[in-house]
Symmetry: C2
Subunit: 198 residues, 2 copies
DNA sequence: ACCTGAACACCGTTCAAGT
DNA sequence: ACCTGAACACCGTTCAAGT
């Protein structure tokens, strides 16, 4: 029924794809949020989750898993945007949560840090995908992000001294490098800071 | 011209508010992204940025600033969602970036960690606001997030062992507590992990 | 019972026509 | 020149009518 589903999935588009009126979809799903939730869960079926890991390897495996999840969502920008405000609840999403929790515990994290950390990690993945996705979706090279780049490029060092100081560092690294660093940093922080603030 | 601007801001809504047709707005802005960008920057004018800080105080000031920014966006969910895929470039946003960079440097962070870190921090703020905002926007208490809660509540410990183990921790803490912890964790990670992976 | 055409209430954006 | 009414090409959702 939902085989390909790439790019922007709307009720009407899917309905015409299935040679029917838009009303027919409401027999199967209650609203668009539910449709996107189902789509996400089907997509997550293609993610292969790691088994139990030894403490020494848990962190690296976790970074890989989170990068995989991010890249999965980057391929479906419209989905990523709705997932951010969706709290998905399908079986495959629960499996993903369970996997991440397991790896955090394997690393030796406390119960609360693992429980609170999984939210941060998955939210970062989703937000990154939503951000990247919509950006690359706007086909024109001129608009959107290009303006921030030039704004930072042209920001006067007098008005924005720290931007002036770090201008070149702000555009350094590939997307892949930055994503891995981000997850590594998140994991380090989650592991280190407890609910009392360290 | 744009004095209040709360809740969902659309071109047509704003146009009728100004007693004119929707076409008139395109004299002032090129598209909706630009409108939302301008709205955000006006909103950011109400954020009071901290001055230079001594190293020992920088972290705490930064957490406060990031919480302020998040709460600002939480009040305007529709804005938060578009800001995520917008890369704002207004003067007040640049001032915010500059402030965060300054505080990160004051903490003693390396140039690259500060430059890469500011993205993570501001993205987390925006994503959190977008997530929370849309959730509270859906007025019905039944849908959306409630289902994940029950899904986690009912998830069998056999199929999802780690969720079973941490079930109670996952709903612990107030939103405020969790937000402060998240930023504290992010900052710790950003400060600790360098681009070589520590 | 189960499905769906047509309608309702919205969107962003464009462009020709009006002042 | 500057503004804008009306139109175009879309949306999600509902509901009465059809099979």
């Amino acid at each position: 029924m939902r085989q390909d589903g790439l790019e922007r999935v709307t009720m009407r588009r899917l309905a015409t794809e299935l040679d029917t009126g838009p009303a027919s979809l409401y027999v199967y799903v209650a609203n668009m949020a539910e449709l996107h939730g189902a789509l996400l869960d089907e997509l997550l079926g293609g993610l292969n989750l790691p088994g139990p890991a030894r403490p020494a390897k848990a962190r690296a495996i976790l970074v890989d898993l989170l990068c995989d999840y991010t890249n999965l969502l980057v391929g479906h920008p419209s989905l990523a945007r709705s997932v951010l405000s969706l709290w998905p609840s399908g079986p495959n999403y629960l499996r993903l949560i369970d996997s991440v929790l397991g790896l955090l515990l394997a690393e030796g994290l406390g119960r609360r840090q693992a429980a609170w950390g999984v939210d941060v990690l998955l939210q970062h993945a989703t937000a990154t995908a939503a951000e990247q996705g919509t950006r690359s979706e706007s086909v024109e090279a001129d608009g959107e992000g290009y303006r921030l780049a030039t704004a930072i490029e042209e920001a006067s060092a007098a008005e924005y001294p720290n931007i002036g100081l770090l201008r070149d560092e702000m555009f350094s690294g590939t997307g892949h490098q930055r994503l891995r660093w981000q997850f590594a940093a998140l994991l380090e922080g989650i592991a280190t800071v407890d609910d009392a603030g360290r």
